[in-house]
Symmetry: C2
């Protein structure tokens, strides 16, 4: 099973970096706050970050008291930036596909991953590896694109239907029950993501031995909607799914 | 909080009975097999069935070895049929809203419910009551309409978009993130259902103390699709969500 390394494609990388540099985007407004709200107290914790990218989370974890952070990413380019901008004696960056974390020494109190799992084909296998790398009592916190978002792909109709005023009226959802690869264009052609139903995400976690503690589909509140009314579309189709699961 | 008793409305009841009497419907093809596949060995078990309706499941449980079955339903009319057609010394039918199961004596090895919870406003409270009525080691197995189905309501557009050949192209999903009451027409006007996101279903179970073991969104297999190609639409939008959760 080949691991996709789209982040080392230069056009993709440049487009992605510009997007992440924008202050107002769905990640900053919804995914990051929801992700942080699911984390436990990090004091003294040993943490593994899967798909750590530029290492922003890794360095934030150290600032919040983490004893040790291992950041794993398949992209050499992203880890070069991480090493330049977010290095710290308590952080080790490892350039490898997250499917190979069995090779990392030790076990962790907390395994996290932010918006990387929808690039992973074998989620079931990955979740089992994560479970094995965790200490008893440990937590697993991750975000991914919502199954309502990953369902779309290879379609000859748009994601949305708009009303006569140009507002999104509803999301066009097809093939939600057809799991597997989706090819789409995001900065470059041929970006591959993998769609899984809500039930499949839950079952992979349950089968590995995890107890699901919390699931979040972030939505805007009134104050945010007043400032950015365009995000009402998240009520029709949330962008993100976040989970906290425990190894009891 | 008022409990809805739409099943004692005569027009609704007649329409519903005719639908359930049809051999080929989505309940028989998808919901019932998925529901049965989630059940444990029933030998000697004490079972509580919430929204038991005509009691078909209750009598089947006894035939499979259950020691005692309590069937609860808000509809007197349905329980009259249950008493006539599906009575058994091991079964007790109780006419009450399932929100009041705290009043029932004893605890159970298994609590089940088939396609009734989308009529319940306070799911969170109900799940806590179910947990309290269960023995340690007990299981909770239920089905409900899929959140992708309950999301629809009070909309001025149809549930589906069809292609030029009259095939369903995609489901029109709006207000998935807006939880709560939906009013729709199903045999009669004003049938109320309650929409909850996948994450809310999961969180109510987790907060009550349940460990989620399995979640199912039933889909047709190839053999079934060959016979009933119209059920391909379940790949776009599953009708049902089923869950098995354990009180550890």
């Amino acid at each position: 099973m080949a691991q996709q390394n789209i982040f080392d494609n230069e056009m993709f990388f440049d487009g992605y970096r510009k997007l992440r540099d924008k202050e107002v985007n769905a990640n900053n407004l919804f995914e990051i706050p929801a992700f942080l709200s699911l984390l436990p107290d990090l004091t003294g914790k040993e943490i593994l970050d899967l798909g750590c990218g530029f290492g922003e989370h890794c360095v934030a974890f150290v600032e919040k008291g983490a004893a040790k952070v291992v950041g794993v990413d398949i992209s050499e380019k992203m880890l070069e930036i991480a090493a330049k901008e977010n290095s710290n004696p308590a952080i080790t960056y490892i350039n490898m596909p997250m499917e190979k974390i069995d090779e990392i020494d030790g076990t962790f109190d907390l395994v996290v991953s932010s918006l990387a799992f929808h690039y992973v084909e074998d989620f079931d296998g990955l979740v089992k590896s994560v479970y094995n790398k965790m200490k008893p009592g440990g937590l697993f916190v991750f975000s991914q694109e919502s199954p309502l978002t990953t369902a779309y792909g290879n379609c000859d109709f748009p994601r949305w239907t708009w009303d006569e005023n140009g507002r999104k009226l509803y999301a066009n959802i097809a093939d939600y029950g057809v799991e597997g690869e989706r090819e789409s264009e995001w900065f470059v052609k041929g970006v591959k993501t993998y769609h899984r139903m809500f039930s499949t995400v839950v079952n992979s976690l349950a089968d590995a031995g995890f107890t699901i503690e919390k699931m979040t589909e972030p939505l805007p509140d009134d104050a945010l909607l007043e400032k950015y009314p365009e995000y009402y579309d998240l009520f029709h189709k949330p962008d993100f799914l976040l989970v906290r699961a425990a190894k009891k």
